[in-house]
């Protein structure tokens, strides 16, 4: 049983883990781009445009990620666009994490005292120099730990795309247990793989948190 697990299960599941990590990374990167744009927009756009971003963030954060994934998978084809299951998962998770990253960015910038902005304006900085040289360097340090937590959520969220038929770690495990009936060790191995990836990422967040603990106002 152990040899089957090692010789057949491990490669099969490692393949799945690669898909999981690949999807998590792609979704997180797109999510971070969305998050920065929306997060800055939430803070600085006038209310008559900003409310669209607010609605986006609140709606996505109010929905279960599984609903987003199913919706993307079933709704995108209705509009006539063909997207593979993998990419409808990436789109849904990018959309999902974008809202969470937006809140991280908004909170990070918002936590920098107003006096910093006032001082920057007093010495004549405009919006972009203010962002580039004053607010972002301080805020990014604040954002890193919660952003890493959000990334872990994305990687955990990729497990849900197994339900739309993407062979990532969970579905690879199910396929292995389905053909060999080795159930308990297989799920144990899957849990260990998820734990190894996510725990390393979380620890990285902890390191950054300690590294930037000196930033206090």
């Amino acid at each position: 049983m152990l040899t089957t697990l090692l010789h057949q299960g491990l490669p099969q599941m490692a393949q799945g883990l690669l898909v999981t990590v690949g999807m998590g990374l792609q979704a997180s990167i797109v999510g971070i781009v969305i998050g920065v744009l929306v997060g800055v927009g939430l803070l600085y756009l006038p209310a008559y445009v900003g409310w669209i971003f607010r609605v986006y963030v609140d709606v996505v954060r109010g929905l279960p990620p599984l609903v987003l994934i199913f919706s993307a998978y079933y709704l995108i084809p209705v509009s006539g666009i063909n997207v593979s299951a993998f990419y409808s998962g990436v789109i849904a998770l990018a959309f999902f994490s974008g809202a969470h990253f937006a809140e991280v960015v908004r909170g990070g910038i918002d936590s920098i005292p107003q006096t910093q902005t006032q001082a920057a304006k007093a010495i004549g900085l405009r919006f972009w120099p203010l962002m580039r040289w004053i607010l972002l360097p301080q805020a990014v340090r604040r954002m890193v730990p919660p952003a890493i937590n959000a990334t872990v959520e994305v990687i955990k969220g990729t497990s849900l795309v197994s339900l739309i038929g993407v062979v990532e770690l969970v579905l690879a495990t199910q396929q292995f247990t389905g053909s060999t009936f080795i159930v308990i060790p297989a799920y144990g191995l899957a849990a260990i793989m998820y734990f190894a990836v996510n725990f390393s990422i979380s620890r990285l967040g902890g390191v950054f948190e300690k590294r930037y603990a000196y930033l206090q106002y």
Partner: protein, 226 residues
């Protein structure tokens, strides 16, 4: 390429016909979340107490439990409870029960963190004052620590409840007939893609919003007096 306007014909009647099924699903989701919140809170209070205890082994076991659950997807826990536990001789009545078992295990870990931070936030002076007037450890827990802790954790507790409510959607993976299952059912059997998903999404959003505002009222009622 874009033909949603012309190629797709809306037909709301099927979704309206099946609204009772969706309500049942919503109600089941809420029930699953409430049970997980209450039993998970019992685990959470015990876990918070264990993590603060002087017995290193007990504290380490609960720390490992929390870290494990926080870094493994709920779906894996649910599948483990549904497929693997029966082989080990732990059989559940039905898929709802096996989901709920995994879900309580999951919520217990998150609530351990919630109560641990609440316990840490109790001002030192309260406990010292309680000792000074001669309360026994049991009385200190019952009259000072627990009531203050509940007020402190209430906002975190309501956030946890709302995310538990959303997490119940994962029960559809093992065929529990909750809200997301209802949407998949309408989608797969009647091809009412847009109608099914928009109605179900709206139901999740409205329920979460109502819960959030009710819980805000409760939080205001029991806010910590500064």
């Amino acid at each position: 390429m874009f033909q949603a306007g012309g190629g797709y014909h809306f037909n709301w009647s099927i979704v309206i016909q099946h609204l009772p099924m969706l309500y049942d699903g919503l109600f089941l989701a809420l029930k699953l979340a409430v049970v997980a919140l209450f039993i998970g809170s019992v685990i959470g209070i015990a876990g918070a107490w264990a993590r603060a205890s002087k017995y290193r082994v007990v504290a380490a076991v609960f720390a490992a439990y929390v870290e494990f659950v926080r870094n493994v997807p709920l779906l894996v826990l649910v599948f483990f409870a549904y497929f693997a536990l029966p082989i080990m001789g732990i059989k559940f009545l039905n898929n709802v029960a096996s989901f709920e078992a995994a879900f309580i295990f999951y919520s217990g870990a998150y609530l351990t963190e919630v109560f641990r931070s609440g316990l840490a936030a109790i001002p030192e002076g309260y406990v010292q004052a309680a000792k000074a007037i001669g309360l026994t450890p049991l009385q200190r827990g019952r009259y000072i620590v627990l009531p203050v802790m509940f007020r402190i954790v209430l906002p975190a507790l309501s956030n946890t409840f709302i995310s538990l409510f959303k997490d119940t959607s994962i029960a559809s993976a093992i065929g529990v007939k909750e809200l997301t299952f209802g949407a998949v059912y309408l989608d797969v059997n009647f091809f009412r893609v847009i109608e099914a998903w928009s109605v179900v999404a709206a139901m999740y959003l409205v329920t979460a919003a109502i819960l959030a505002s009710l819980l805000r009222l409760l939080e205001r009622r029991y806010a910590v007096i500064k």
